[in-house]
């Protein structure tokens, strides 16, 4: 009876996993061999098929992590500390997933394959946690970098306004725009404060609770981005008013 249930579960997993491939790999569940209930040993062909699906899952996650690693290595916004932390996390995930894949490929029972294959999701959460976390840290550090650039630019814009020979009306409008710009940069600075620290060390074992942190971070980064885009528009307005 247990063997029959295991066989049914195996077929279900195979179909589910096949659907998860989203058409990129054709899996004909009906064509897969069914484990014989009369034997306690795993059907080698079916076991191999499941292992193959697990391997595909690992390879896809490794591809996502490799792309993330490129973002991290080439980012001009990440602080060196955050860059180092993220590279360490990515490297650990890559090594861990590769080792897990080797373990799966050497498993000899269905139960062990099921358990180990499940770890691809639960021990790493690459799609739903690691990947968005990395993107959020890059974005958050980017906001801080833009804040810093604006903070350098604001006194320079003030000097340009002061030295400009435009009409008093235009100068007053430019000053108003600069004040507005300054307020937006300050708001952005407030929004982004603590965002990186709130997500960079999230771990898969905290899922799904830590999803709230990721969503909160996204909200704060979006708010900061909106403020900075508005500040950017103010710069345009100022330079236009001053005839630059």
């Amino acid at each position: 009876m247990n063997t029959r249930m295991l066989a049914r579960g195996m077929a279900t997993l195979t179909v589910t996993a096949g659907l998860g491939l989203a058409g990129s790999v054709a899996v004909d569940a009906a064509a897969l061999p069914t484990p014989s209930p009369a034997t306690s040993t795993a059907n080698p062909a079916l076991l191999s098929s499941v292992k193959s699906l697990c391997n595909i899952g690992v390879q896809r996650r490794l591809a996502v992590l490799a792309a993330d690693d490129t973002f991290v290595k080439t980012s001009v916004a990440l602080t060196s500390s955050d860059q180092s932390t993220l590279e360490g996390q990515i490297s650990a995930d890559e090594n861990g997933l590769s080792a897990l894949d080797k373990t799966i490929q050497s498993d000899t029972t269905y139960a062990k394959v099921f358990a180990d294959c499940g770890l691809i999701v639960t021990a790493y959460r690459v799609y739903v946690m690691e990947d968005p976390k990395i993107h959020e840290v890059i974005a958050a550090d980017g906001v801080s970098k833009v804040d810093s650039t604006f903070e350098t630019m604001i006194p320079e814009l003030q000097n340009v306004i002061n030295a400009s020979a435009v009409s008093a009306t235009d100068r007053a409008q430019a000053q108003s725009d600069l004040n507005n710009l300054t307020g937006k940069v300050n708001a952005s600075h407030t929004s982004i404060s603590g965002v990186t620290a709130s997500v960079i060390n999230l771990v898969p074992s905290g899922w799904p609770g830590n999803q709230a942190e990721l969503k909160s971070a996204r909200q704060n980064i979006t708010a900061a981005w909106t403020d900075l885009s508005g500040a950017r528009t103010d710069v345009n307005n100022i330079l236009t008013l001053l005839g630059e």
């Binding site: 589910t16 996993a17 096949g18 659907l19 998860g20 491939l21 989203a22 699906l53 697990c54 595909i56 899952g57 896809r60 973002f71 980012s75 916004a77 294959c117 499940g118 691809i120 999701v121 959460r125 690459v126 799609y127 739903v128 946690m129 990947d131 968005p132 976390k133 993107h135 959020e136 890059i138 974005a139 980017g142 906001v143 970098k145 833009v146 650039t149 604006f150 350098t152 630019m153 320079e156 814009l157 000097n159 340009v160 030295a163 400009s164 020979a165 999803q211 990721l214 969503k215 996204r218 980064i221 979006t222 981005w225 900075l228 885009s229 950017r232 710069v235 330079l239 001053l242 630059e244």
Partner: protein
């Protein structure tokens, strides 16, 4: 006598003014600023206020370009994060 002393002091004072102005002109010549003409004669003439210089916004334009690039990057990273946050991950093979 008093008159002669006053005259002498006035002349000496004029030399001093010329010397100070001359030193200033020599110093400024080495910089990129317009040369300052030392006043001639015994009395120094107050420099006329220079017209406001045209503001140099090249630095600001470079900063704006950097900000534009960064805002584009942040937007892209936010979109990428959104994809993950709107995904479910329950299937090992996905």
């Amino acid at each position: 006598m008093t008159h002669l002393t006053a005259l002498r002091n006035s002349v000496l004072c004029g030399f001093a003014v010329v010397a100070v102005a001359g030193c200033g002109a020599a110093h400024l010549t080495s910089a990129a600023t317009p040369p300052v003409t030392a006043p001639t004669g015994a009395s120094a003439v107050a420099a006329a206020p220079t017209p406001a210089a045209t503001p140099d916004t090249s630095g600001i334009n470079q900063q704006v370009s950097s900000i534009d690039n960064q805002l584009g990057t942040i937007d892209g990273q936010l979109n990428a994060a959104n994809t993950g946050l709107n995904t479910s991950e329950g299937n090992p093979a996905q």
